[in-house]
């Protein structure tokens, strides 16, 4: 399968601190790729690097075009939707306004009502709360809102940063089920960053293991699940 997103020797730093030391990975068209790793391994920074939210060195290609060094706004306009750490909710705006912002930079003139209906189809609870101020939603609902906002872009690539963080297991399962549905029905490729390796490996077809800013292992999820080091350190059995 052709690659949608390719990263080669990507480095990133915050001030003097280098966080990524030459990371490389690929997301295939229609695939779900996950990046695993402990706290501070550089998972979030990797996603931020793709979106131009940190200064980077190295090469990042989307659909064959170089996007490293471009402004975040321009990268998003190519069809890359990033659901950030902390969900990035506009807490003072209503649920529906949050969703409309997701479609803000789409060029097509298609009426947004159809998109709202499509997105509410995945998350019926958001339809009930569409006039509510987003800050009043529960954590799980805000995570759904963040995903829904990303869907409004009709993205070709969905970047998910720890969607399970701070949520009850049942809600996490629900959200990951929807991610899979989105991947299949909307044909959006997914790059998922997760601390919960078991969940991520269930969902993804390819995985990379990150440790202190370097990829130390990679392979198909089925293979990675059997890897001793991963089992001991990240799966806990």
């Amino acid at each position: 399968m052709p690659a949608l997103l390719e990263a080669e020797r990507v480095e990133a730093r915050y001030g003097w601190t280098k966080v990524l030391h030459g990371v490389g990975f690929t997301v295939e068209v229609g695939g779900i790729t996950t990046i695993l790793g402990a706290n501070g391994a550089g998972k979030t920074t990797t996603l931020r690097a793709v979106c131009g939210m940190v200064r980077t060195a190295g090469v990042i290609r989307f659909d064959g075009r170089r996007i490293d060094g471009q402004a975040t706004e321009d990268i998003v306009r190519l069809g890359i939707a990033h659901v950030p750490e902390g969900r990035g909710t506009f807490v003072q705006l209503t649920v529906e306004e949050n969703l409309r912002l997701g479609a803000y930079c789409r060029r097509d003139r298609a009426p947004r009502g159809a998109d709202l209906d499509r997105v509410y189809g995945y998350f019926p609870v958001l339809r009930e709360r569409r006039r509510q101020v987003a800050g009043t939603l529960s954590g799980g609902e805000q995570q759904m809102l963040a995903l829904a906002r990303a869907l409004m872009l009709r993205p070709r690539l969905l970047l998910l940063d720890e969607p399970s963080l701070g949520l009850a297991p049942m809600i996490v399962r629900e959200i990951l089920r929807i991610v899979r549905a989105i991947n299949q029905e909307e044909r959006a490729s997914v790059l998922l960053v997760e601390q919960n390796a078991a969940l991520a490996l269930d969902l993804a077809d390819y995985a990379y293991l990150l440790e202190t800013g370097r990829v130390i292992r990679s392979g198909p999820s089925a293979v990675m699940r059997e890897d001793d080091a991963i089992r001991r350190s990240y799966l806990g059995y």
Binding site: A81, G88, F90, L93
Partner: protein, 293 residues
């Protein structure tokens, strides 16, 4: 009773002007956390531009529209050229840049137009409007009308257009806005442009009442501060309501409290700022801002 009604209407008229300028302050404050001390002088300078256009023989409403357009573009350029380079500087540095702008506009107006007061025309008839036994100044009623129209247009723009939504989003959460593809830098510049435009309306409406001179907005800026403080610096609607309240309070206190009169009116505004900050620092309609550390 008649005096009371007249004072209230006249208070609403000046209050609308305070409210407009307060709204301009709040718009910029919400987007950038900066209090633009030059807001009043920018409005004053815009009013001088209108005066020049009127002198050149342009009809009033054409000069009005032209001034708003120039104010908008001017505000946009000030953000791009002057504020943007210090965007990431400490807040105090930006405040000092704003004060620098204040001095520059004040001196520029004095240099070009001199410090001599000039009469400024009102677009409304001189004949007062009589309603029963109560007499209202036509300019007062007109100023209220113009202010309300501008506010209504702004409301529709911010509530019901994608661009307005993007501007509100950019003010609240720049990082998330970028992730939605919003060009945050331009939204801030647009905010400055719109604030300058609203300020220009305030200048044009107040000039017929106070005469045009380079210092005409300095007192009004303090009233605008009082309005924004009273309504809450985090609430645009609050700023406007605060303005109307301040205008009415100022007029009523000036009329009914014998030792205040017209000379001590400005003190009322300062006292109001003090009381609000002591009793309810977030203002009547503002949210208490909590910073996580």
């Amino acid at each position: 009773m008649d005096t009371f009604l007249q004072q209230v209407v006249s208070g609403l008229a000046t209050g609308g002007i305070y409210g407009s300028l307060a709204l301009a302050l709040v718009m910029i404050y919400q987007a950038t956390d900066v209090v633009n001390f030059a807001q009043g002088e920018m409005a004053m300078f815009s009013t001088y531009l209108a005066w020049s256009m009127l002198q050149a023989g342009l009809p009033y409403w054409l000069a009005f529209a032209g001034t708003l357009a120039i104010a908008f573009v001017g505000g946009l350029l000030i953000e791009r050229l002057v504020i943007r380079p210090v965007e990431n500087a400490p807040i105090l540095a930006i405040v000092i840049v704003c004060i620098g702008l204040l001095v520059i506009f004040n001196s520029l107006a004095g240099w070009i137009y001199s410090y001599i007061q000039k009469p400024f025309p009102s677009p409304f008839p001189e004949r007062p409007i009589t309603l029963g036994a109560v007499v209202f100044g036509a300019h007062d009623v007109g100023a209220i009308g113009v202010t309300l129209v501008v506010l209504a247009l702004l409301y529709v723009f911010f509530r019901h257009t994608p661009l307005g939504l993007a501007m509100r989003a950019a003010a609240q959460n720049p990082v998330s806005s970028r992730l939605c593809g919003v060009r945050v830098g331009w939204m801030l510049a647009l905010g400055w442009g719109l604030a300058a435009l609203v300020g220009a309306v305030a200048g044009l409406m107040v000039a017929p009442k106070v005469f045009l001179d380079p210092n005409m907005m300095s007192g009004i800026l303090i009233y605008a501060f009082a309005s924004a403080t009273l309504g809450g610096f985090t609430s645009p609607c609050g700023a406007v309501l605060g303005g109307l309240l301040v205008g009415v309070i100022e007029n009523l206190v000036g009329t009914y409290v014998w030792f205040i009169g017209t000379e001590l009116k400005l003190t009322v505004a300062l006292a109001l700022i003090l009381v609000v900050l002591l009793v309810k620092p977030s203002g009547l309609f503002g949210r208490a801002v909590v910073h996580r550390v």
